[in-house]
């Protein structure tokens, strides 16, 4: 990223602040004790300490503290949930049928998002929908094992790749040529 030093420090402080806030909220949810000043102080201290350790480990970046672009993921989840429910019904019907017919396939999916985050999201989405599991991830393809041959539809994978690319913050325009 080509940004000036001051704005980088600003972005950095943003990561630290949002990570500390998230830690504090997590502590409040898990603790359930809000009446003792000592406990609250210890909780706040541990939240700050966790952020400090993240800074010491040099992992304080957008991947440890992605909260400011969480809304993109939140927009992606309902669609993913619908896909998960649909494929679940298919897989359960297959398991329940007394004369089960499986057509397992290993396919290579070539249409990938560009960023690491988008690829991780895409591979995880493939695994999360039952019936398809991402077995191996290379620089230019994902090897997917599918339970039924109907699940290896190229257009479906391309659609999911485009959506996870959008959810991880890529511009949709430069992906238009790579479809199909």
């Amino acid at each position: 990223m080509n940004v000036s030093n001051e704005s980088r420090i600003g972005v950095f402080m943003g990561y630290a602040l949002s990570l500390t806030t998230a830690m504090a909220v997590l502590w409040l949810v898990l603790s359930g004790h809000y009446d003792s000043t000592l406990l609250l102080g210890l909780g706040a201290g541990s939240a700050v300490f966790a952020s400090f350790m993240a800074w010491r480990l040099h992992i304080l970046d957008v991947e440890t503290s992605p909260y400011h672009r969480l809304w993109r993921f939140v927009l992606y989840w309902p669609w993913l949930l619908m896909e998960v429910i649909k494929t679940n019904i298919t897989v359960i019907r297959t398991i329940l049928s007394p004369d089960m017919v499986l057509t397992p396939r290993m396919v290579r999916v070539k249409t990938l998002p560009d960023t690491d985050m988008g690829r991780a999201l895409f591979a995880n989405s493939i695994t999360l929908t039952p019936g398809t599991v991402s077995v191996d991830l290379d620089s230019d393809e994902i090897i997917v094992h599918a339970l039924l041959k109907e699940m290896t539809d190229k257009a479906g994978f391309a659609d999911m790749a485009a959506r996870s690319a959008r959810a991880s913050g890529e511009k949709p325009a430069d992906k238009a040529g790579g479809m199909k």
């Binding site: 898990l30 897989v91 499986l102 929908t129 039952p130 077995v135 090897i143 094992h145």
Partner: protein, 122 residues
């Protein structure tokens, strides 16, 4: 409006129970799929049924039971954590098997041989 909310509060435990039972049934079906399917890679998919829809429905049922409390927030946290880690764990198992050279069953597999040509299960 408040009457509507009261009615909602009366039916809430029943809805919660139905969702919970449905989730538990789906978890059981996923487990029986893991037992029934023929090879390792296809068993992954049956385990995925438990990990996704089963988890979602069981925890949703429990959240409906407890209402808007801190316990619900904890249950949602459990659900979020399971949904974030289960694809990673599944991918790790699948990748380890693939890297070690375990061959998947490909082609067509039938639990019962077709009636006209017996023994055709490749």
């Amino acid at each position: 409006m408040s009457e509507f909310l009261q009615a909602l509060d009366i039916i809430r435990p029943y809805v919660a129970g139905a969702v919970l039972i449905l989730g538990a049934v789906i978890v059981f079906l996923g487990a029986s799929g893991v037992l029934r399917l023929p090879d390792f890679y296809s068993r992954l998919h049956a385990a995925g049924v438990t990990d996704t829809l089963g988890t979602l429905l069981v925890l949703l049922g429990l959240i409906l039971f407890s209402g808007f409390t801190l316990l619900s927030a904890k249950l949602a946290l459990v659900g979020m954590f399971l949904l974030l880690t289960s694809p990673t764990a599944t991918h790790a198992v699948a990748n380890a098997a693939h890297k070690s050279g375990l061959k998947p069953l490909l082609g067509t597999w039938r639990s019962q041989p077709p009636k006209d040509e017996p023994g055709n299960n490749t």
